[in-house]
Amino acid sequence: MNKLLEKIFQLNSLAIVGIEKNVGKTTTMNYIIEKAKGKYSLGLTSIGIDGEKEDQVTGTEKPTIYIQKGTIIASAKKSYLSSDITKEILSTTGIQTPMGEIILFRALSDGYIELMGPSINNYLKTVIKQMKALGSQLVIVDGALNRRTTASPSIAEGVIVATGATVSRNMEEVIEETAHKVSLLQIELERNYDRLKLVKKALKQGKVSFLYDDKLQISQELTALGAENTINEGLTSGANAVIISGVVGDRLVENLIKSPIDLSDKIIYVEDGTKLFLKEENLRRLKLKGLKLMGVNEINLLLITVNPKAPDGYSFDSHRFCYLLHEKTQIPVFDVISNIGVGLE
């Protein structure tokens, strides 16, 4: 694990995402923070949630973590005021969120803090840059695989995925589910420079676009949800690829699978795998029909961390859990509680 840790601490930024709520992401975060103490200065922020204040207040986990003195934090004013650390304001950002303006501050003592970061990619990038400029060696971004963010963990140089026994009582199911989500994160990237340029342009300018060989057509659709007809028409009329900015869910995909359209060699482009919310079955059926899912932003998945204990009380055999998960995904797996790792070299 030490080698992998060294690699991690050489990065500029690291995103830690949980497969689902309450899976033990905070434990992973605390683990990394502990490993950094005395050696590396950290910056911390989180990917916020878009949308109304209520969503922000009720809808999601705002991680409360115990941080070390010297950490730099980028978080909303509300979280500044509610943290119990002794702190120093370094700068304000002008970035507004429902929880107040994002403030950059430094911890002058250890203590508890709730992270409430920006929800938009560009703001997230800005904030990471600013923390690096203020001296953070590694910026950790707390994220989630969640429909309600526009921002993506792909913004970080490396990504850790956290999973655990809370996903299901059945270990095989946890492994299936985790492996499935991991494979979504690892969809193929478009490497062709010209194509990539077109696709990126489309993602910026529209929600649903089409590629006819090298001609781009951007539709007027305001969201992919409900745009099934447009997508079907586009593909029927000869488009090689559909470019979707935002979430691609089961409904959209099932609609395609049910239709008589020939999907072989067609491509659906998304920003990255975090925008895919598909059942394993649908993923398989798409593959059978010959349709490829491709991404634009790389998700550099370095590690899967596991918490073999569930709050309900049951727990898995850590060795077996890690081994099987590694076998299925071929990604290094590490149990942060019992310090067991598989495939770490």
Binding site: K37, T86, K87, I89, T92, L108, S109, D110, G111
Partner: protein, 490 residues
């Protein structure tokens, strides 16, 4: 009206940086006869600023750099005035405001400018208040230096946190965390007291801060106006006692820019207007509307304390500037175009009876029958000629300009040889025709000597724009008849 004459275009070009400057921009209004001394001072200060900009460009670059960092602290200042306790972020922003202000003051004062309203006050004490360790960092914290008790609590808390860090036993750790939590509460208590104290200690400096906010606003606006004046080669408007408006090579910046985009040139206008009625006549498409907008805009800018877009603008102070044109929405109020004109004119008449101003009237009564229209315009001109206010009438009506009324006309197409022109090409498309007219049209104004016939260019313009030649032939016959009948100007 002001948007109608293009004022917003100018205001948008001003580079105002700070929120305080933007507020001053919103508050801009034209000055009147009564407060002319203030306007005089503003124009003098603008003169000083234009000079200063040339002498010390590097200093202004530095000042502008600081301006870019200035944020709006008025909300926090108000809260402080209302005896509320400020939060850390507010202290941080006030501290930074004071630091940047001191930098601005440091750069500004050696230049020795005396601009009315710009009076920077020393904010070092405010910085000291929020920087007890005198480090002058652009950061803020409730520092240990504020209170011995706070310092001790924090030290105790720090020791517990160190113990927590090395503690492996969970129940021991819980005990330690409990202890820590008690200290957190004590720390919060003392921090709260310090915030209260600081908020009170800031009170005596609030007036100074407000003075500085005002000064930044005025300075920002003044620099913006000066830069615009330099960039666009504007000149100082010359206000005098005589009732007049003389403009030499006056320009309309918005229309000038539009024309430039089309590779065309704007013809600047020169005119000398006197008390009472003045008339501008001329052909259709002769640019008369642009002329009065140019006059109105520059007069207004002068009255608002700007330099103007002309080589010379000599004018008296006006208590009001009215532009009556048919761009207005009288239809909305259920009036016909003509009805709307009368209503608007009545409003102007009230002002004209009370004091001295500038009124520009574009094609009054154009929408009603020409016989009555002519008479009405003639009557208006005769009546308004008795007043001190300068009234400018644009009209295409024949024979309405009475004797003794200051009369200009657009030179127009009078020097064009239409026969030669028409023989060169059989017919023009409308588009070519428009281009041609614009090229041939001489937009300059010239004084009219009595009994000059009003040029009759409508027919020529119709020909150029390709009106059916049959109609032209019929019209020519009628023209000859009518000219014989009317003969001279009545």
């Amino acid at each position: 009206m002001w948007n109608n004459i293009g004022l917003n275009y100018i205001l948008q070009q001003l580079k105002i940086i700070t929120p305080y400057g933007k507020e001053q921009l919103q508050l801009l209004k034209p000055y009147t006869i009564e407060n002319f001394p203030i306007l005089k001072r503003i124009l003098e200060d603008l003169d000083l600023m234009i000079n200063s900009l040339s002498l010390f460009p590097e200093v202004y670059e530095k000042i502008e750099g600081e301006f870019l960092r200035i944020k709006d602290v008025r909300g926090s200042i108000k809260r402080c005035e209302n005896l509320q306790v400020l939060d850390d972020i507010e202290f941080y922003e006030i501290k930074l405001f004071a630091i940047y202000l001191e930098s601005i003051r440091y750069h500004y004062q050696p230049m020795g400018l005396t601009i009315e309203g710009v009076n920077f006050q020393d904010l070092e004490p405010v910085i000291d208040l929020l920087d007890p360790e005198k480090k002058r960092f652009t950061t803020f914290s409730i520092y240990d230096a504020y209170s011995e008790e706070l310092k001790l609590i924090r030290e105790k808390k720090h020791s517990i946190e160190n113990l927590i860090y090395i503690e492996k036993n969970i129940s021991e750790m819980e005990v330690l965390k409990e202890q820590r939590f008690k200290l957190v509460e004590e720390e919060a208590y003392y921090e709260g007291k310090i915030r209260q104290q600081l908020s009170q200690q800031l009170l005596p400096y609030i007036e100074r801060i407000k003075e500085n906010i005002y000064s930044i606003g005025i300075l920002d606006l003044c620099i913006g106006k000066a830069k615009l004046a330099k960039e666009k080669a504007c000149t100082k408007p010359l206000f005098g006692e005589d009732i007049q408006l003389e403009i030499v090579e006056g320009r309309h910046p918005y229309i000038e820019d539009l024309l430039q985009q089309q590779d065309k040139k704007f013809t600047s206008i020169s005119i000398n207007l006197t008390a009472g009625s003045n008339a501008i006549t001329g052909p259709n498409m002769g640019g008369k509307s642009v002329t009065i907008k140019t006059i109105a805009l520059n007069a207004l800018l002068g009255h608002m304390g700007f330099y103007v877009f002309a080589n010379v603008l000599k004018l008296s102070v006006f208590n009001f500037i009215h532009l009556l044109s048919n761009d207005q929405e009288s239809i909305k109020d259920g009036l016909s175009t003509f009805g709307g004109e009368i209503v608007k004119f009545n409003e102007c008449m009230l002002d004209i009876k009370q004091s001295r101003g500038l009124v520009l009237i574009d094609e009054f009564a154009r929408g009603t029958n020409p016989n009555e229209g002519r008479l009405l315009v003639k009557s208006l001109m005769e009546y308004l000629n008795k007043f001190d206010s300068i009234s400018v009438f644009i009209t295409h009506f024949d024979g309405v300009v009475g004797a003794g009324i200051n009369h200009y006309q657009v030179m127009g197409l009078k020097h064009v040889d239409f026969n030669e022109l028409m023989s060169k090409q059989n017919h023009y498309t409308s588009k070519d025709g428009l281009e041609k007219i614009h090229k041939l049209m001489d937009y300059r104004l010239e004084p009219v000597k009595n009994h000059d016939p009003v040029p009759k260019d409508a027919l020529n313009i119709s020909m150029l724009l390709g009106l059916d030649s049959n109609i032209i032939e019929i019209a020519k016959l009628h023209y000859h008849k009518e000219v014989q009948f009317y003969g001279e100007e009545t």
